[in-house]
């Protein structure tokens, strides 16, 4: 048990912070309960997928600035196709949208690998390409979402024999966990995952060990694309429509990745830390609204938390390195 805590010290620390914040929320708003947790869960879904996508690319030693724009493309595609779609067709649309995400990610990755232009430049350019693509698919917020898909993240999980309010587990949280398990498995239990960490940590060493650098990076970008597809779908699921203008998911995902303990230099970190960080950042936003803090101060507070926590983390890391 101690070993587990030691190995996952950063995640454990974040979980403690999350619990402290949950207690603080209960103090600020004594009515905070199942419906509050459920709101928090639903608000976190698109951020969670954007963050997981960013985490994989960053671990692979890159960065993808086009994540929010890819989410917009997937969201408008889903919303446009789901107008009048039946329950069965919706399954096909979901698969198609995820494939579209993978394709966009692969294009991003291939451009980075083939042109050897830095990731930040390529994906910045692709941000505009995907933004324009989203507007071509749907030039105004519209479309539809199939009801059963929307219900997947609506409400709390009901356990037979217990009233719905008695269960504190939001369906949205279950949805995120189930969708992310395959990605966690790939990153931590497969050779591909190991290659992604190797390429991000030290590409030269990885190359000398026989890891196909280019292919691994393209796959990492494609995985991020699939996750952006899930993020786009979750946007359509929560709003019931598709919006062509990307939301604030790019910077939010970078924040959560950094707060979640992923090194921007690549090769270090995981998926769980950043996801916990997403919940922390959403809960901070909720608390600031509950306390009716001046909205112009809100962003300053959010930024300050980031800096303080990451600085503390850096200090701890340096301390750990000393003999």
């Amino acid at each position: 048990m101690m070993r587990l805590v030691q190995r996952n010290g950063w995640v454990a620390g974040l979980l403690v912070l999350l619990i402290i914040l949950l207690i603080a929320t209960k103090i600020i708003q004594p009515d905070f309960g199942a419906s509050g947790v459920e709101s928090l869960g639903r608000a976190s879904v698109p951020f969670a997928f954007a963050t997981a996508a960013m985490a994989i690319v960053v671990i692979a030693g890159g960065i993808d600035l086009s994540i929010a724009a890819m989410m917009a493309v997937c969201s408008v595609t889903a919303a446009r196709l789901m107008v009048g779609a039946g329950d069965g067709e919706t399954v096909l649309i979901v698969i198609l949208v995820l494939a579209l995400g993978a394709l966009m990610g692969a294009i991003n990755g291939a451009m980075v690998v083939l042109t050897r232009v830095p990731d930040i430049v390529v994906t910045l350019a692709m941000l505009f390409v995907w933004e324009g693509t989203a507007l071509l698919i749907l030039n105004t917020p519209s479309g539809a979402a199939t009801q059963w898909l929307r219900d997947l993240i609506l409400g709390s999980l009901s356990i037979p024999g217990l009233p719905e309010r008695a269960t504190f587990i939001p369906k949205s949280l279950v949805f995120v966990v189930i969708c992310l398990i395959p990605f966690w498995f790939i990153m931590h239990r497969t050779k591909l995952g190991l290659s992604i960490y190797a390429v991000g940590g030290d590409p030269v060493a990885a190359f000398r060990s026989g890891v196909p650098i280019g292919r691994t990076r393209i796959i990492a970008y494609s995985l991020a694309g699939v996750l952006a597809g899930l993020g786009g779908l979750s946007l359509t699921m929560s709003t019931g429509i598709g919006e062509p203008i990307p939301g604030p998911y790019l910077l939010a995902s970078v924040s959560a990745v950094v707060l979640g303990g992923v090194a921007l230099s690549g090769g270090k970190g995981g998926i769980i830390g950043p996801i916990v960080a997403v919940f922390i950042l959403r809960l901070v936003r909720m608390d600031l609204t509950l306390m009716s803090v001046d909205p112009n101060v809100t962003t300053i507070v959010e930024g300050t938390i980031m800096v303080v926590v990451v600085m503390l983390g850096g200090m701890l890391a340096m301390k750990g390195r000393r003999p």
Binding site: G9, W10, A12, G13, L14, V16, L17, I20, L21, A24, I28, Q29, D31, F32, S35, G36, S39, R42, A43, P46, L135, L138, N139, T140, P141, S142, L235, S238, T239, G240, I241, E243, P244, I245, P246, G247, P248, R282, V284, R285, M286, D287, L288, T289, L290, M291, S292, V293, D294, P295, N296, T298, T299, V301, I305, V308, V309, L312, M315, L316
Partner: protein, 341 residues
């Protein structure tokens, strides 16, 4: 050790923030998704001023940031959690936030959508008529151009609901004047710098133009004509303080301002308070009709002269109040202070 550090960080965060105010009067929640735009800032100030002037509001709970419909869903749900009595919202779009509005009205919270409509039937709507806004301005412009020539069509933000409504109105006017052509169509994103760069590029390219229609990014367009010493053409803008000032002062400028009051936010707060006190409006939807102030008619000149207000930010609409709805004074809206501030 690590969690100790993080505990300190969390405690520092929490102690730096105040505690929730004790509730006596009403608590009103506000949700807005565009930050740093003159029109929206005036809207928020009108909401604060009206809440203060009414004397009925204890505190305002303002969620005001740049986000999308999904983010606004989050904000509205947070306001529900905060236990507000009413929510006044400028919706990101007509359909995307219906789920949260329904949850709010189910919880007994009065919801008023201002500026743009929502399709959720349980919400009250107090909106500027955006289609008419574009139509009256475009019609005046085409008339002033003598029904013939090429026009620069400077839209708002691609994909925004209000921009689409305005496009419908502009196209309706365009259909009535077959000899008018669109020389260039650009999206300013409702950003001053972007709009100015675009018009400078168009002027530099030397394409002949006989008129400019703008979606509210207007004073910088006049500036660009003056700075590049290009011959002035008729220009349509909004009733922003800077542009209304130019209509009275720039020599040779023929132009018209179409009113699009940001004070509709204050009217929304007034409506929410009326409903909370049991006075139901006659209709679920109230549309505020735009007016046209053209400096080539005596009537328009008088309105422009009356609208001059050097105390306002150039990006703010000069129609700072809506008669019959808002009760605050000019000083109150400029001070931009809500109850308890």
């Amino acid at each position: 050790m690590k969690s100790w550090y993080q505990g300190v960080a969390a405690a520092a965060l929490l102690s730096g923030l105040g505690t929730a105010a004790a509730a006596e009067g009403y608590t009103i929640g506000i949700s807005n998704t565009v930050q740093g735009n003159g029109w929206r800032e005036e809207m928020v100030c009108a909401m604060k001023a009206e809440a203060l002037a009414s004397g009925l509001v204890d505190s305002l709970n303002i969620a005001h940031r740049n986000t999308d419909a999904a983010g606004q869903l989050e904000d509205i749900r947070n306001l529900i959690q905060a236990g507000v009595d009413a929510i006044v919202v400028n919706p990101a779009n007509a359909d995307g936030i219906n789920a949260a509005i329904k949850e709010a009205t189910d919880a007994g919270i009065v919801v008023v959508a201002v500026d743009q409509a929502v399709t959720e039937p349980s919400a009250y709507i107090l909106s500027n008529n955006q289609e008419e806004y574009a139509y009256v301005g475009a019609k005046w412009l085409f008339e002033t151009m003598g029904g013939t020539g090429a026009v620069v069509y400077m839209r708002g933000a691609a994909g925004a609901g209000a921009d689409n409504d305005r496009d419908v109105g502009f196209k309706r006017a365009l259909a009535e004047y077959p000899n008018i052509t669109v020389a260039q169509e650009v999206f300013t994103g409702w950003q001053q710098d972007q709009g100015k760069q675009q018009i400078l590029d168009i002027l530099a390219s030397g394409i002949p133009i006989q008129g400019v229609w703008t979606s509210g990014i207007d004073n910088v367009i006049v500036d660009a004509f003056v700075e590049s010493e290009a011959p002035l053409v008729p220009i349509v803008g909004a009733d922003n303080a800077g542009f209304v000032g130019q209509l009275a002062s720039v020599e040779g400028l023929v132009g018209a301002a179409v009113t699009n009051p940001g004070s509709v936010g204050g009217a929304g707060v007034a409506l929410a308070l009326q409903i909370l006190q049991g006075q139901m409006p006659q209709a679920q939807t109230v549309l505020v009709t735009p007016a046209l102030w053209a400096n080539n008619s005596d009537e328009g000149k008088a309105l422009i002269a009356a609208g001059q207000n050097p105390n306002l930010d150039p990006e703010w609409p000069v129609s700072v109040s809506i008669p019959g709805w808002t009760t605050y004074t000019m000083d109150q809206i400029i001070a931009c202070k809500g109850p308890g501030e």
